[in-house]
Symmetry: C2
Subunit: 153 residues, 2 copies
Amino acid sequence: MIKMGKLTDYGTLMMTYLAREPKRLHSAQDIAQAIGINVPTATKVLKMLTRSGLLESHRGIKGGYILAKTPVDITMADIIGALEGPIGLTDCGTSDQPGNCQRERSCSVKANWQRISQAVNDALASVSLAEMTVPVAQPIVMKRPSKAEQVTL
Amino acid sequence: MIKMGKLTDYGTLMMTYLAREPKRLHSAQDIAQAIGINVPTATKVLKMLTRSGLLESHRGIKGGYILAKTPVDITMADIIGALEGPIGLTDCGTSDQPGNCQRERSCSVKANWQRISQAVNDALASVSLAEMTVPVAQPIVMKRPSKAEQVTL
DNA sequence: ACAAAATAGTACTATAATAGTCCACTTTAA
DNA sequence: TTAAAGTGGACTATTATAGTACTATTTTGT
């Protein structure tokens, strides 16, 4: 129901690949070959991950990329956030053209979208990169909204 | 970090609008005007919601749309799923070209994506349409307004 | 029966977002 | 000092989305 771009897919595979040898530098070429994409595209994704602080880069010959943190300290929310940008709808509060929604003052939808974003973010943050390298599935324990947050109808 | 299309935004506003008067038929024109979009676009979204079983439509003059279920029985997962389609990455298991990922047999990433999808889906399913009509996360409503009273637009 | 008003289905076009590529520049080890 | 690596930014091609239009079908009132 939500679509993630190819680059996010690549990025996840890259991070998982790096998480298997977290102490070593890996060149963009190595990484590109490992996950089966072309080098230019791989470098694009690696740049994004580096600028977001998830990877550290080393220049020069013998350079390459390495995880900036341990796999347990990196979550899927980090990775997806780095490659997809912040969650967001297109209008409804983003573009402040009045009259577009004539009940702006008391618009309950906008406020509730933030709760939804938070819930999705929590779900993604509950999966660490370390878990992504583990073959089998441990069930994800989602943080359900507390009673106080719930609006009982 | 995840982007939802405009149509999903429209759909959410429509569903919220209908949830305020769940017993009445609303024409596409009414709905389009209420949320401030053009009629052709509105009808497109309404068709999608109807085909997904979230709305019931009545044809002919005096026709229109009405919620197929009560607002408490409709979740944001339903609405988003109807308008965005199923969650999905682009490759990695979708296009089965071998060699693309040379460790396909033991690919832990693919399996874990399903866990993530499930977690996101759970998060979205935890928010009902009824909750979307409530102004803000005020934990306890002192006087529970009747459905008719909630119609204040 | 017929006309008017509404939805249904589908196809088409325009626009926007994404993916992918390329090049000039910088850094570093041998 | 040269070769191999990353950096930044701009560019193009492709794809997905949004929006529109048209025809058919259904229903109500006269």
